[in-house]
Each structure stands twice: as C-alpha cells, then as structure tokens.
C-alpha cells in the first residue's frame, strides 16, 4: 500500500511538472523562431541596401568600361595606350573572327595555345540584356550592341569585359585588384545600429569562400551554419553574403537561458522532492499509528473473548440449575446471557472487521433460512423486552438452502442491533423472510427516524455513525453495516437500504443455491 502511494504521489507531481516544462519549452521555441524570423527579415532589408551598393559600383564600372570601349579609336596606338593608362584595364585585346588582331604577339605567363583557347571562349561570352532606353538618352555610342563580363576560374580568377564593335570583339582584361578595391571602398564601413560588433558578423565571401569584406567582429566556429546566405549578381555570381550571429545573442535558449531554466527546474524538482519525502513520512507515520491502534484493539478484543466465553458458559450453567420457580432469577440470568451475547457480537464485529476472525469465503451448508433467523431473534428478545420494544417475526417459509449460517446470523444480528440502538423510538422492529427467485431474502424494518437521503450510502462506510445525539449512551463503533454489507457481498448477495415511508428498511438477498424444500 505504501509503495503504491509513493508512486502515485510521485507521478502526480512529476507529470504536471514535466508537462509545464514541455509547454514552456514549446512556447519559448515559438518565441525564438518568431524573433529569429524578424531578425532575418531585418537582415534581408539591410542586405538589400548593401547589395545595391555593391551593384551600383559594379554598374558604374561597367558603364565606364562600356563607354571607353565604345569611344575607342581602333588603331594600335590607342589600343596600347588604353591598356597602359586605364586604372582598371590590364591589357586590351581585339579579336576579328577567331584571330587575334591586337596585340600582335602574346605575352605574359600563359602559353600561346592557352591564350588562344581563352580568346575563343570569350567569343561565347554571355551578353547582358540590351541597355534600357534611359541610357540611350545619355548618348552612349554603340547603343544596343552586345557587351558583357566573363570570368575564368583557373589559376586564380581572371575577369574580362568584352564589347562588340564593327571592327571586331574588343576585350579588356580587368585589373581585378583594382576593381575589387573600388567595390570594397563602396561598401559602408560600419553597420548602422551595430549594437555589439563582437556578437555578429556580416561577411562577403569570394569564390574561394574567403572573407572579402566584413562587418562585425564575431568569429564563427567551424561547424556553425550562417543565419542567412545570399548570392550576388554576375560576374560575381560565385560570391555570397553570409551572416553569423553569436549563440549568446540568439533569442530564446542561449547558454544563459539554459542555465536559468536548468537551475529553476532543479530547484523546483528539489522542492517537490522534499515535499514528497515529507508527505510520505507523514502518511507513513499516520499509517503506522493507525496500524498500531488497530492491532491494539484487535489484541484487546482477542483477550476479551476468553472471559466472555466463561461468562456465557457459567450463565448458561446457572440457568440450567435454577429451579422452575425462580422466575426473577431466570429473568436476570437471561439478561446477563443476552448482554454477554451482545458483547460477544461486538467483539466478533471488531475482529471480523480486522479480518482476524473472518474467513474470506462463506462456509456454506444446507441450512434452514428461517431457523437461522429465529435463533438470532430469540437471542435479542430479552434485550427488547427490557427496552419495551416489540420484535415481530414473520417467517416466509423459505426452507433450506446453501448458505453460511454464521454469516447470515451476523448480518441479521447487526441489522437488528442497529434497529434496537437507533430506532427504538418506533416501538417495533419487524423481521421477515421470504423468497423471490433467484434469491432468498430477509428484511429488517423499523419505525424509527429513518435515514436522511444524504446518508443512505454513507452509513455503509466503516466508522460512520449518524448524529451522536441519537446514540447517546448507546455506544457502537459504526462497523455494523459495513461488515454486514461486506459479508453479504462475499456471500454472493446484496444488502440494501430500501425506500420506505417511515423508518428504515434493510434487505439482505442471497442467491438460492441447492435449495431443498
């Protein structure tokens, strides 16, 4: 019993605790997701701004190169001059068909065939969309002519700008460092509203995933995934923006949050644990005390049985010895016997209740129902006579059936005893028997105050007595009905309180087995 109790207590604490934590965690998780989403949205807006700065510089450079290419005089002198003077152009090439028209000879670190191959692939360059009408208003020559970027990723990155001219394909090999410098300088130096540069880093990564430019000082751990990734436009399509946020700054569960919740949880668990232990100790103590009391009572009751038996024995002996004439003495002896019996019944009830005296199954034998009842009634008559109460007996001619006479007797005795104690105001108690297939029944009805509706079930509980006023001076442990019903159940029958206009009426039904008429 104790173990089950502890288990139930523990569960009843841990379950709500666990549920609370889980729900709290869910709510926090949702919160964090929300805030994270908002951070990402704000970031995306910022990235738009930065990305547009990058694109602006790129676009203005493209325009500059486009104009230079458009205005180019196509003689050797001019071509060489541009290649020498322009800060962003390393070398100028002119291709006619698949032939290199300028410069006449290849130089540099590439072999001739490599250069040739490169020039060829430049002929398949991706042109930009045709320029917008506004630009034609600016009066750029060669409007509507194809032009574009081309990137090569072997042996480091090379970048070319090409433009179609009537004379052929004009190609600029770009001084990439110079262009990157312009792009770098065009990016803003600091993030506005940068609250904690240590906690975040917005990075622009090149095609080798090296950091080209950075805002914020946060150094990401190797396996950390960026909060945001965005690609760049051509010719930097292999570059990307990434954003990293330090876990400490992330909303919701961070190291701090986890610490707090962990400690809170542990504190709560510790407190509940203490509570649990305390409760268990109290309950244990109470149970022990109750147990001690019960065992004391049992012990005492057991002790009482012996002197009681002697009492009855000698009362009987004396009764049998008395001469017929000693009516008074006989009467007195009957009362002594009857009281002794009553005492015996009380002790029997107590011991039955504590299971010391009772068997778990009825010991059935073929018994005359009415005779059993009559015996019990007889034993009460003296007491009833003393109290000027009438005990009416209406046998229903039930006959013999399989039952446990001791149990039936005890049930009937408890019922009559109750009636005697609580319903004496009615003046009469009727006991009747009968048979109604498939059971035999006995009924004890009184004309006393009756049982209030609210107590009709309660009276069958142990130690329950209705108002003490009624039982003043009468005693009784409140066990009678409990035991009676218990016995009835174990016998396979039922004990119920029937509806009645006045007083109380109890009925015991036992199923008929092996009846013999």
């Amino acid at each position: 019993m104790k173990k089950h109790l502890v288990l139930i207590l523990a569960l009843s604490i841990l379950l709500p605790l666990g549920t609370t934590f889980w729900m709290g965690g869910q709510a926090l998780e949702r919160d964090r997701d929300n805030v994270e989403r908002r951070v990402k949205e704000a970031l995306a807006v910022r990235l738009e701004v930065f990305g547009s700065r990058f694109s602006d510089v790129l676009e203005s450079t493209r325009l500059e190169l486009s104009q230079a290419a458009a205005r180019m005089a196509m003689d050797e002198e001019s071509l060489r001059d541009l290649g020498r003077r322009h800060p962003l152009i390393r070398q100028v090439y002119l291709l006619r068909g698949s032939e290199l028209a300028f410069p006449k000879a290849f130089g540099g670190t590439m072999t001739e065939s490599e250069r040739h191959h490169r020039m060829k692939s430049l002929l398949e360059g991706e042109p930009l969309a045709p320029p917008a009408p506004e630009r034609s208003a600016a009066g750029i020559e060669g409007e509507g002519v194809a032009e574009g970027w081309k990137t090569f990723l072997e042996q480091g990155t090379s970048l070319y700008f090409w433009k179609e001219r009537p004379e052929g394909l004009l190609v600029f090999e770009i001084n990439r460092g110079g262009l990157l410098s312009r792009l770098s300088a065009g990016l803003p130096g600091e993030l506005e509203n940068a609250s904690d540069p240590e906690g975040h880093a917005l990075q622009l990564l090149d095609e080798r995933r090296k950091i080209f430019f950075q805002w914020g000082r946060y150094e990401r751990r190797p396996e950390e995934v960026p909060l945001l990734i965005k690609d760049l436009p051509a010719p930097f399509q292999n570059w990307q923006w990434t954003y990293h946020l330090s876990p400490e700054l992330r909303p919701g569960f961070g190291a701090e949050g986890a610490w707090f919740w962990g400690l809170a949880g542990m504190g709560l668990a510790a407190f509940l644990g203490l509570l649990l232990w305390y409760l268990q100790r109290e309950i244990g103590r109470n149970l022990r005390e109750a147990g001690q009391r019960v065992s004391f009572v049992n012990q005492v009751s057991h002790e009482l049985k012996t002197p009681l038996t002697n009492l009855r024995l000698y009362a009987d002996l004396l009764q049998s010895r008395l001469p017929e004439q000693s009516l008074q003495a006989r009467e007195y002896l009957e009362i002594i016997s009857s009281e002794a019996e009553r005492l015996g019944r009380m002790i029997h009830n107590v011991l039955t209740f504590s299971r010391k005296d009772r068997r778990d199954r009825p010991q059935c034998r073929l018994t005359d129902w009415d005779e059993v009842c009559e015996a019990v009634i007889r034993s009460f008559r003296p007491a009833f006579r003393a109290k000027s109460l009438r005990l009416e007996w209406r046998p229903g001619g039930v006959g013999r059936l399989e039952c446990d006479p001791d149990w039936v007797g005890q049930i009937l005795a408890n019922l009559i005893s109750n009636a005697e104690k609580y319903a004496s105001s009615g003046g009469v108690v009727e006991v009747s028997t009968g048979r109604e297939a498939p059971s035999a029944w006995l009924r004890v009805a009184d004309r006393g105050p009756g049982i209030p509706a609210k107590d009709r079930e309660r009276i069958f509980q142990p130690f329950v007595r209705l108002s003490d006023q009624i039982t003043d001076g009468t005693g009784g442990a409140g066990l009678g009905l409990f035991i009676a019903r218990d016995l009835a159940r174990h016998h396979g029958g039922v004990l119920i309180l029937e509806d009645s206009e006045a007083g109380a009426c109890f009925r015991l039904s036992i199923p008929l087995i092996g009846e013999k008429k």
């Binding site: 020498r84 003077r85 322009h86 800060p87 962003l88 390393r90 480091g156 001084n175 990439r176 460092g177 110079g178 990157l180 410098s181 312009r182 770098s184 300088a185 065009g186 990016l187 130096g189 600091e190 540069p197 880093a201 950091i211 080209f212 430019f213 950075q214 805002w215 914020g216 000082r217």
Partner: protein, 437 residues
C-alpha cells in the same frame, strides 16, 4: 613696413621672371667607349633629378590618407606610438593640405573623411579616440583610404596613401599579387601607397609589392618608438615632390637591342622601352638601368644608342613639360680605353642593382630551405662588390659589400630570420627605388 612689402614684391616678381625650373634628365652609358668589332652587353642609365623650389619654403599641397591598423595585435605601445606619429603628421600639415584618416581592424572605419587640415584640434581628438580590437582587413583599409584620396584628386598636388600595419592581412585579399594589382591600379590614377611595416609579424612581400607597384616608399620599423621619425621622413619626402606623372619613352636606335630593365617595372616593346614614375623629388635622383645589346662598332665612329623623351607634370608651374636627351657609344680599339672611360656612377648603379637581384635570389633560396646556397649567393655578391669598390675607389660599394657579408653571416640563423628577411626586403626595395630614407 612699406619697404618690406616692396622687397617681397620684388622677390616675387623676380621669381616670376626667372625661368621655371626643370627636371634634370641625364642619360649615360656605362661604357661610352666599347671595343670595336664585337657585340657587347652594356648598361644605359637614365636619371631624373628633381629641382629645388625657387621660392623659399614652398611646396605642392598634399592630398593624403593615413590608413592605420588598429587590430588587436596593435594594442598597447604600438597603437600609442602610432597615434603619436599620426598627431605628429597632423602637426606637419597645413591648411592647404587635405587629410583623411582611415582605421581598420575586422571592419573599416573612416575616422576622418577627406578634409582640409583646418581644425587640428578636432583631428587630435579623433586620433585620441582610436582603440584596438579585431582582425586585419588591410585591403579594405587601403581601398577606403584610396577612395578618400580619390575624392579630391588633382594633378597639381601630391596624392598619397600612407599605410601602417603590424600584422598579417586576414580579412580580404591578402596575397602579394592581389595587392600588387591594387598598387598598379592606383598608380595609374596618380596615387602612390607608402607602406610602413611595424614589428616582426607583417608580410613584407605584400607590403613591398604594394609600394613597388604604386611607386610609393616602404619602411621596416622594428621599434614603435621609431614610428614618429619614419613619419617625419615620409612627409618630408612627400613635401619635396616637384613633378608628377612622369612618363619616359626610350627609343633605341637601329641595331641596339634593349634586353631588360634592372630594379624597376617597365615595358619593352621592340625598340621602345616605356617607363613611368609617379613622382620625382626635389634634389633626389631616380634612375632606370637598361641592359642593352650593342652590335659591332667601328673604331672612332659614334653610334646613336637611344633617344629619350620624358613627359611630366611640373608642380611648380602646374603645367606639363617635356624633356629630351640622347646618348651614343663610340668604338675603340683599346680595351684599356674602354676601361678608363667607364662612368663610375653607372657602374656603381649597376652594381647596386645587381646586388639587389642577388639579395632577392638569396631570399628565394632561403625560403626553399636551401640555406647554404643562399649564403653562397650573398658571399659571391659581397666579394664582387668588394673588388669593384677597390677598383672604383667607391665608399658606397664598400659599405654595400660589408652589408652583404653581414647578411651572409646571419642568413643561416633561424632565430633572426624573420627580422632579417624584413630588413633585407626593405633594403632591396630602398636601393631599387632610390628611396631617400
């Protein structure tokens, strides 16, 4: 008072009437006399020397950007000295100069955007506020500095970025090649980058390439306390610029074959050698050495070697100017004559540049782990210089020989290599560039 004014006016008028100063262009052959009847490989020196400002204490205005490394490694003494040097620079500048200050760590900040140096107190305050943090975004720093200079780019002023760094660039492009690209691009815009390396942790190849490709200066500053002095020298240099956008075209005569250029970058196309300098300094000579192949000569017959044309922007007159010169060689029958007539200055210059090449080779070998070979190269160069010094009675070459010997002695020492490599690179660049400090 009136007399003073009249006197000054007179001086000014005098200055206006006097002919405007010009760069001094000189072209000379190592051997003006060459033994006839055989082919020779010899050297031609084209030198440009800046003139003195004719008016006292005058100079071209500066448009300069100070780019300062404030990464975490600069914390403490280094940053304090750097701030001292920056304040010192502000002190040197005047209201006709334009200054911007860019600081960089992981991020880049334009501490002071390009502005005339009027409110010096404000500039001091800005410098005071610099603190160290983060990594080293060197490329971004230089780029932002260049952008600030670009805002007020003008032909008649000196446009320069002065970069100070103590560590390895780790955010942004960080290879010598990429930085050289950037330097070359800036050079074409007329912007030079002077790189100052502080301490022992910076990448000297990167810093030197950046200076070299942009025609700026380079300095290796080991102790932070020397920073102010270096800044002083740098600014003195910048104040003494007399000409900008200097383009040289050397047209070699028929039969003369230009082989290579020593110590500098340039372009050889057929008979033409194209060279360029971003600036020429007052009273300093910058020179180019061209290795040429001369065909068989006839005794006593002069033969034209090359015509030299120089175009530049004169900062005193604020006008473009042109100079020309030419040089010849003559055949001689006598070897002795050839030797007797060799030009000491050119021989020295050639020796200096060849020593630079030896030093570069030594570093390359040392980097590959070939310590013995590196030492040998240096020793060989030292020996050659020593012999030549005796021959020419040249103190300069003697000093150079001693320096080469010292380097040879130290080159196998693992512990000092980091320092020595920086020092060697710095010396090599200084010699190749004829840097004044």
């Amino acid at each position: 008072m009136k007399r003073l004014i009249m006197g000054l006016l007179g001086l000014w008028a005098l200055g206006a009437i006097l002919p405007a100063a010009e760069l001094d262009l000189s072209v000379s052959m190592e051997n003006p006399l060459l033994v006839a009847g055989q082919r020779h490989v010899t050297y031609m020196k084209v030198g440009l020397k800046g003139f003195e400002w004719t008016r006292d204490r005058d100079r071209a205005p500066l448009n300069v950007s100070l780019v300062l490394d404030r990464s975490g490694s600069m914390e403490g003494d280094k940053l304090e000295r750097a701030k001292d040097a920056a304040r010192f620079a502000v002190d040197l500048l005047e209201s006709r100069d334009i200054l911007s200050i860019v600081t960089y760590e992981s991020e880049v900040q334009v501490l002071v955007p390009a502005t005339k140096v009027a409110d010096k107190r404000g500039l001091y305050r800005a410098i005071d506020s610099i603190q160290s943090a983060g990594s080293t975004a060197l490329f971004a720093g230089v780029s932002k500095g260049a952008a600030e200079v670009r805002k007020f780019l003008k032909a008649d002023q000196v446009n320069r970025v002065i970069l100070l760094s103590d560590g390895l660039a780790n955010v942004g492009p960080d290879s010598p090649g990429e930085l050289a690209d950037l330097g070359a691009s800036l050079r074409r815009e007329g912007i030079s980058v002077t790189s100052i390396g502080l301490g022992l942790d910076y990448n000297e190849d990167l810093m030197v390439r950046l200076a070299q490709s942009s025609d700026g200066n380079h300095a290796f500053v080991q102790e932070p306390k020397d920073l102010a002095r270096i800044f002083h020298l740098e600014f003195k240099d910048a104040f003494s610029v007399v000409a900008r956008d200097v383009d040289l075209k050397i047209t070699c005569s028929q039969g003369i074959k230009p082989l290579r250029i020593l110590g500098r970058e340039g372009e050889i196309k057929g008979q033409e050698v194209s060279l360029n300098l971003n600036q020429v300094y007052s009273n300093q000579e910058k020179y180019f050495l061209i290795e040429v192949e001369v065909p068989e000569l006839v005794p006593n017959i002069a033969r034209s070697v090359a015509d030299v044309a120089v175009r530049y922007q004169n900062l005193q007159t604020a006008k473009p100017a042109v100079l020309t010169a030419a040089t010849t060689v003559k055949g001689t029958a006598s070897q002795v004559e050839q030797e007797k007539n060799r030009v000491k200055a050119v021989v020295e210059a050639v020796a200096v540049q060849k020593n630079v090449e030896a030093g570069e080779e030594a570093i390359r070998l040392r980097d590959e782990g070939k310590l013995k070979e590196a030492k040998e190269v240096l020793e060989k160069s030292a020996a050659g210089l020593s012999a030549l010094a005796k021959d020419l009675d040249s103190e300069a070459l003697d000093d150079l020989s001693a320096a080469a010997t010292e380097n040879a002695d130290k080159i196998e020492d693992e512990e000092v290599w980091q320092e020595q490599r920086k020092a060697m690179r710095s010396e090599q660049y200084s010699a190749a560039n004829q840097q004044s400090y």
